[in-house]
Symmetry: C2
Subunit: 286 residues, 2 copies
Amino acid sequence: MSLSNFFLKSDELVVRKMSSALKTLQLLSHFSATSPEIGLSALCRLAKRDKATTHRHLQALEEVGFVEQNPLTRQYRLGPALLQLAQTREMTVPRKEIALPILKRLADQTGETTHASILSGTTVFALASCESTQHSTRVVIDLDRFPLHATASGLSTLAFGPDELMAVAAKNLEAFTDHTINSVESLEEMVQSVRETGFGRTIRSFEHEVSSLAAPVFDETGNLAGAVSVACVATRFSPDLERNCQEHLITASRDLTRGWGGTTPQRIEAIWAATLSKSHELETKS
Amino acid sequence: MSLSNFFLKSDELVVRKMSSALKTLQLLSHFSATSPEIGLSALCRLAKRDKATTHRHLQALEEVGFVEQNPLTRQYRLGPALLQLAQTREMTVPRKEIALPILKRLADQTGETTHASILSGTTVFALASCESTQHSTRVVIDLDRFPLHATASGLSTLAFGPDELMAVAAKNLEAFTDHTINSVESLEEMVQSVRETGFGRTIRSFEHEVSSLAAPVFDETGNLAGAVSVACVATRFSPDLERNCQEHLITASRDLTRGWGGTTPQRIEAIWAATLSKSHELETKS
DNA sequence: ACCAATGGTTCACAATATGAACCGATAAGC
DNA sequence: GCTTATCGGTTCATATTGTGAACCATTGGT
């Protein structure tokens, strides 16, 4: 969504043509839980587009009910037609319903907050989450999008998703904490280690008090579909807990992949097995 | 959505120009619970559009995650980005959450199945429904769109919604049963009576065994926002039950209107009061 | 009364959308 | 095993459509 309109190709600058339909639809991505209503001018600034054009686009969106105008403030907000379509989508592919019981179980097993996310285009969207009731302190993250470079889910997605994502991630290395990855080099290093272990892993890199572990989820083609993650209160994140999370993340990922119509690729299973046996070795030694 | 591209204006035929964004978005309206996956050629036929164009439109939709291709069948279906946007919409305007308890109460009070619907553009779509557990026979209608001419909710919408709807309704007088309204004249007559009573009313006009009563719901501008309805098993639909439904529909509509940020217009309240006192008169006479 | 926002509109110009014809693959008919 | 009919997808000359600087009308602050 936030891809630039330009890209470099064998030393020459190429202008990526965009259908106006695409430009229109991209306007929708600026609405979020934190800014649910946006005025025309504000939206122009956000989208870096002309006022007349943006207005025409909004009118098209309004006509099909994708946005509506708050008649009092004249600001725009997402429209009711989205509910209708989302309902239909859920009937077709009820990923959320499938995810919820799996997240619940994972939360019970680990005692921490669990998340499921979906890769759509180049964005990792939050699908559902579940808080454990075992501890009085627990992680409450209300995200709609998981930053690729700063979250365990994002790193899993980078490691096992389409290669183009790396370029997108590299363009936005926002520093959420002083542990956030801040260079393309260290990002690549991190992603490499995720590929080797089969788990995305972040220590206080998105929120100061949170450490997180994630596993990739796949669809019916064997391509990455999303991720499932455990967000632990950082002070609780011991090697023991990590091992526990890894084990249960694997079954959760397997079940989610199966529920979404796919099968976990053999190569991923192999990576997980290797990681688990390695951490088992360490544990028995100590 | 199903508006024609042509309209008559002071005796001359004018071609309505449509932005390609609009055409693109309109493709989405062909997906429904009953046909959740559609192939390229099939969609061309449904939308009556060119294959190349439709394909380009689908690609734009795919890029933002509004559709995705089932990789096995190559058919298209609604995409995951819709879930995300619908979630955001519900955070902004939680109409569904607000409607559910009201529908529950209405179902308890009437002993029948209740529905809430929203007008979006020229489509009345289902928002939520609630089944009563009082009777072993009950109405289960799994609709995502309410036909304007054949349902009580549709008639309420026609009667109190924007005038343009009438033209849309007149274009599609599909006969669901032999009680379905089948001429523009009788439709106009029906709508007129809805305007006089304040209630949409259909007897076996959509399903053979169902009679239904509906009241309009309004938003913060005083415009029609949707409808709330009771779908009764037709054999149970006595004058007594009708009166009971009317009374409780009024409070349900008031509460919904208020919950959605509006106030029930005085003229509607007046119409309802008149209808109730009339039916009360009849009741005491007999 | 003024200025600086806002939402919205116009019109000459330029870019994008369009669809008939096309390709390659798969499935059915015989 | 050859023909035919679909399917999803692509090409390219044509013309319809999109674009944005400049514009207007309102509103709210000073």
